[in-house]
């Protein structure tokens, strides 16, 4: 196993990188200008957080790779993001549902990290919590507004939840990297965040008149890199193309 701290930083940074990329795909084509602005803002926050997490991962690894080297020069099997965040945007409802599910986990994780024994991690968490609190407010308001909107918007939001639900469980699966983080007082155990997430779901889905799917089957393989979905390779093809086509250039 790689250094668990390096793994952990990559997990955090790859989540924000991959989701930031997905959200940025909305640029210029959102349903209203206010959403164009808000989505760009969320993507911008996530890319900023990526610079911090992957920057720290590079320091921990101490092999001369910086955040850009990690973002643009690793292949699919080295990515450690959750399967949820690499899922395609779908319609606006699916994008916002994915955001809401992720924000629910992300905010709880960051709050836990604020008291991390690792000073740099605590500092990143403190900065990120402010941003992610806003993401959470926005995504939950949107899920509620569209869930409890028209018949069509309700149906689309329920469909989005059904499609994404099998990717929610991976957020709360703990493995030996997590165990090492808990052991060192660096990060909370993801499994311990589940109860809070269920309470959030009950609140928001209730207000949105949406139904939590019963089947808790969860796809796995993103956070440990064992088996990503086919979507990630296409994303990297796009994201990394320029860096890889002109490896001797500086930008």
């Amino acid at each position: 196993m790689n250094d668990p701290l390096f793994e952990f930083c990559c997990r955090m940074g790859d989540n924000t990188l991959v989701l930031g990329h997905r959200v940025s795909e909305w640029c210029g084509v959102a349903p209203v200008i206010e959403e164009d602005i808000a989505l760009a803002n969320i993507a911008l926050d996530l890319i900023g957080q990526t610079q911090l997490w992957l920057g720290l991962a590079g320091e921990v690894e101490d092999a001369g790779r910086d955040a850009d080297a990690l973002a643009f020069h690793r292949d699919v099997w080295d990515f450690r993001n959750l399967l949820l965040v690499e899922q395609p945007n779908g319609d606006f409802g699916q994008t916002m549902m994915r955001q809401f599910l992720f924000d629910g986990w992300h905010l709880a994780m960051l709050k836990g990290l604020m008291t991390s024994s690792h000073d740099q991690i605590a500092a990143i968490a403190e900065k990120s919590v402010k941003e992610v609190t806003y993401h959470m407010e926005r995504s939950s308001d949107t899920v509620i507004g569209l869930g409890d909107g028209t018949e069509e918007s309700h149906k689309r939001m329920q469909d989005a939840l059904n499609v994404l639900w099998p990717y929610a469980g991976e957020m709360f699966v703990s493995d030996n990297v997590d165990a090492a983080m808990v052991e060192a007082g660096i990060a909370p155990d993801p499994a311990a965040l589940r109860a809070g997430f269920e309470a959030l779901l009950a609140d928001v889905l209730g207000a949105a008149t949406l139904v939590r799917p019963e089947d808790d089957f969860a796809h796995k393989g993103g956070k440990n890199g064992v088996r990503h979905s086919e979507h990630l390779g296409h994303m990297l093809t796009n994201m990394q193309w320029l860096q890889r086509a002109y490896p001797d250039a500086t930008w």
């Binding site: 760009a40 803002n41 890319i47 796009n238």
Partner: protein, 330 residues
Amino acid sequence: MYAQMIKSTGQGVKSLDEMEPEERAFQERINAGGKIEPKDWMPEGYRKNLIRQIGQHAHSEIVGQLPEGNWITRAPTLERKAILLAKVQDEAGHGLYLYCAAETLGVTRDQMTRDLLSGKMKYSSIFNYPTLTWADMGAVGWLVDGAAIMNQVPLQRTSYGPYARAMVRICKEESFHQRQGFDIMMKMANGTPAQHKMAQDALNRFWYPSLMMFGPSDAESVHSAQSMAWKIKMNSNDELRQKFVDLTAPQAEYLGLTIPDDKLKFNEETGHYDFSEPDWDEFFDVLRGNGPCNTERLAARNKAWEDGRWVREGLLAHAEKKRSAKMAAE
């Protein structure tokens, strides 16, 4: 600039003597450098002209997201991606302030959007050109935002208050965009041979379309004369174009890039650069819808609007439900 070929009344400018007292007072206030505010009396021609102008400017900001959005997912570093995202976010913000400014004149954002989507209202010709390499992100910031600034800085003193105030906010951000674009050009022009080639190619493709942004010569135009009397246009197109060339030519030289114009040369006598006019037939083709990307740009906006319909309707329905629940509770 983002508003081109804006029609005014089409009549000549009236002298103060020819005006009714109300209009005379209006014009005298403008002549004295005063501001017109939404509740003030204004001639119908002034109002309509401004709606066309501010609306076209707003549409340009919105459509202008697309050529740059084209590179956000392919930006070569995290820092460049963040800068480009922030820029495109600013442009959407500019669109929003400008729609708000136009709404003070009695038109709704929805109506203006419908007119954009149907092709009835225009946006700047420049956004109908494709962005083909990363250097284009430099060229757009440097040249396109640069040309926009030429026009927008004087408009901070325009006679219509809400428009002038929107311009003050916008200009600060545009000059930031221009510097960031120039910074990309520096990296590219001084980079590897391939990067330098991209930079030169971007300049080759964007030079004349940037000159076209100012519109054809309007020295003889009755529309311009009226707009200038109303101070909703502050300079002639030729004046601004010359200023742009004078400022940009030395910057290109500094970058080690060649402006694609054999005639470009500093003229000691006039103190200005001589330069070639762009191909105005191409300009009119673009305005008629035959630019390289007109179809895609309009299709992208139409698709976004159609795809977003259920979202707008859903959020509206929810807001209604909340309002009536609140009323029932009271």
